[in-house]
């Protein structure tokens, strides 16, 4: 199986879906002639032309709204946010329009829209460019939220997102763009709403999404090598819909849970999962549910400290040892 980068996997997904369905088009800042700020869309404009790959001026609210309107009439826009942080100027369009128009129309309208781009800290660009809004958006019934951690998942989930008939908020990670994973050459889809057990273990469950799942894999290795503890890593892959069955199955097996995310702790995804576990797996738990999140402050610039602010393998290991 070929090894390709997370970036290439996304690029392939976009190309395949543009080719498959004439209603799919890509719109965003610098996505066409410039080949994408992070080169995710490289070569697509040359291949598919200006109708299918559209350079937009810096008007996130305007072109997200445009995409919502166009999707109501049956197009399937894929909007690139140069950074998900910039979606904050389009919040009204995302939450009020994409998120609510189906409901307020009593189900007469649907919005087959994807908004995608990087949502991560860790690149020394300061607080305004490091937001991770998956918890905010998952708090809006009507929206779906997907956070792939590997190239394989990124490709399969993006293709599913584009085929989904509801608005999907697709959150990538610039720190993963250049990393490689095995990805099959033949076409495949990864369903939205199904978690992936990325490592099996009997002693402890790490429940994570996005790059935090990769961090957990490293932490699980350290735990095994240095402490003889067998942790399993459940990668949620999507936040909403959420694979609650997989979460419960894992914790019922290991009886210990650490929920890890790069988001901030307050009302984060981990809070929701801890609540589910507290309610539905109370009797299965042998220890309190612990969480590891980004340290609770705006993202710091300082390159020497920023990666400390995010969950890293050592911090995850230390947390796990508190209950093992």
């Amino acid at each position: 199986m070929p090894q390709i980068t997370y970036r290439t996997a996304l690029n392939q997904a976009l190309a395949e879906e543009i080719q498959r369905d004439e209603n799919v088009f890509l719109i965003g800042e610098e996505v066409a002639e410039y080949n994408g700020a992070y080169k995710v869309t490289e070569g697509l404009w040359e291949r598919f032309g200006s109708k299918r790959v559209v350079d937009a001026p810096i008007s996130e609210a305007g072109f997200v709204g445009l995409a919502v309107g166009a999707s109501m009439l049956g197009l399937r826009p894929v909007v690139e946010m140069m950074f998900w942080s910039f979606a904050y100027v389009a919040w009204d369009q995302i939450v009020n329009n994409a998120g609510c128009v189906r409901y307020m129309s009593g189900g007469l309208i649907n919005v087959p829209l994807v908004i995608r781009g990087p949502a991560n800290g860790g690149t020394n660009v300061g607080a305004t460019h490091s937001h991770t809004p998956e918890n905010f958006l998952a708090n809006t019934p009507g929206l779906k939220v997907v956070c792939p951690a590997t190239a394989y998942d990124a490709k399969g989930l993006l293709k599913s997102a584009i085929r989904d008939n509801d608005p999907v908020m697709f959150m990538e990670n610039t720190l993963l763009y250049g990393q490689t994973w095995e990805v099959p050459e033949e076409e495949y889809l990864v369903p939205i709403g199904r978690a992936d057990l990325k490592r099996e273990g009997a002693d402890l469950s790490f429940i994570a999404h996005g790059r935090a799942a990769i961090t957990c894999l490293k932490a699980a290795e350290i735990l095994e090598e240095k402490h003889g503890i067998h942790a399993e890593v459940l990668d949620l892959r999507s936040i909403r819909p959420l694979d609650e069955d997989a979460i419960l199955a894992s914790v019922r097996k290991t009886h210990r849970a650490v929920v890890v995310e790069e988001n901030k702790p307050f009302c984060g995804v981990g809070a929701q999962i801890a609540s589910i576990l507290g309610e539905k797996a109370f009797d299965d738990l042998d220890a309190p549910i612990l969480r590891v999140s980004a340290m609770d402050a705006p993202a710091i610039y300082c390159p020497a400290l920023e990666l400390e602010q995010l969950p890293n393998a050592q911090r995850v290991v230390d947390r796990a040892l508190q209950i093992c």
Partner: protein, 357 residues
């Protein structure tokens, strides 16, 4: 005193010459329907039959009815929260609209949208939007989709004189001008945004539409009390959108008789009773159009009165229908959130979508 009917130089515009007497009567009837629908809804709002806000369109009927009388197969409409007039003008029934106000399952949005959120995609009517100017890029997107699909049509996005100061409206204008999108932005300038007059909300030289110059977009000013002028000038913009895929901004001078919403406690504080009376007496689009049709010999007073009576009757019947209709069930609260769940697809069955228990 009934003055002589002012001539409209727009009566002889081609698009108006094409109107048959029946067409003209239908337009008058539709204006009566909007007015009487709202009158009845106000009555029952005051009796506590509905909740929330009720933004009445009374005084502005010629705008929605005049413009919607021009719509063809691929022409689309979207507006803000003052949306009853547009809804009826595109052909929605009074029953489904009144039932929506009552929050009933038989409402156009099954009681999930309310007064500000009427929808009828089958009639090219895309709402009904509660966030000021939030609908403007959606209108742009509808027009974008038409162009993308190669369909000859346009999208008319209505907004208020207060909405023109929202950033997203300007983003929409820029994109429409830049990309030749057949979107027509119709500013219904009723001179107030809630209690704030035009002079207190907008920096402008002459008018609000003129801002379109900054985006290379054609614009036009329209007297909203002249139905023929509304039709003629809007049609020019629509024809340009159809033939050349160019956007437009139309600013229509109009007036609302009631407060911003029925709950507007200051309705009489930020403007004088004289100002309101002046509009009602001298610029009321319904009265003026009725008089014009009588002068044209299209109908007589008795027929016009009958149209009015029929509209009242239809509205009263709609209120009965709404009253008799059931509320949605509690289980309906979580329906119509995700298309995939509603349609019970594999995708809709994968993962947990709702977190209620």
């Amino acid at each position: 005193m009934e003055t002589a009917v002012a001539q409209s130089e727009f009566a002889s515009a081609d698009i108006n010459l094409r109107l048959t007497p029946d067409d003209k009567i239908r337009i008058l009837r539709d204006m009566y329907r909007v007015r009487r629908f709202e009158q009845i809804s106000l009555k029952f709002y005051n009796q506590g039959k509905m909740g929330g806000f009720l933004h009445l369109y009374t005084g502005q009927e010629s705008v929605a009815v005049g413009i919607c009388s021009l719509l063809g197969e691929h022409d689309h409409v979207i507006t803000a929260y003052r949306d009853h007039g547009h809804a009826l003008a595109v052909g929605m029934s009074m029953d489904e609209c009144m039932a929506e106000l009552y929050g009933k399952a038989t409402g156009c949005s099954k009681g999930k949208g309310g007064s500000m959120h009427f929808f009828a995609p089958d009639k090219n009517y895309w709402g009904g939007h509660g966030i000021v100017a939030g609908q403007t890029p959606l209108g742009l997107g509808l027009a974008y989709a038409l162009k993308y699909k190669g369909l000859k049509g346009c999208a008319l996005a209505f907004l208020g004189d207060g909405a023109v100061n929202q950033g997203v409206y300007h983003e929409s204008l820029n994109l429409a001008g830049l990309w030749d999108i057949p979107a027509i932005f119709v500013i219904e300038n009723n001179r107030y945004s809630m209690g704030t007059s035009l002079a207190r909300s907008s920096a402008f030289k002459n008018n609000l539409a003129e801002r379109a110059d900054g985006y290379e977009i054609d614009w036009e000013l329209i007297n909203g009390s002249d139905l023929y002028e509304i039709r003629a000038k809007t049609w020019t913009a629509m024809a340009r959108a159809h033939e050349h895929s160019r956007p437009a901004v139309l600013e229509i001078d109009t007036y609302r008789y009631y407060g911003h919403s029925v709950a507007d406690a200051n309705a009489k504080k930020y403007r004088s009773t004289e100002e309101i009376e002046e509009y009602k007496n001298n610029h009321d689009p319904l009265r003026l159009y009725r008089r014009r049709l009588i002068a044209e010999g299209v109908l007589d007073d008795a027929t016009a009165d009958r149209l009015d009576e029929e509209a009242k009757h239809e509205a009263a019947e709609a209120a009965k229908f709404a009253d008799d209709s059931p509320f949605p069930n509690a289980s309906d609260i979580v329906a119509d959130v995700y298309w995939e769940v509603d349609n019970d697809t594999e995708r809709g069955r994968t993962g947990k979508h709702f977190f209620n228990d």
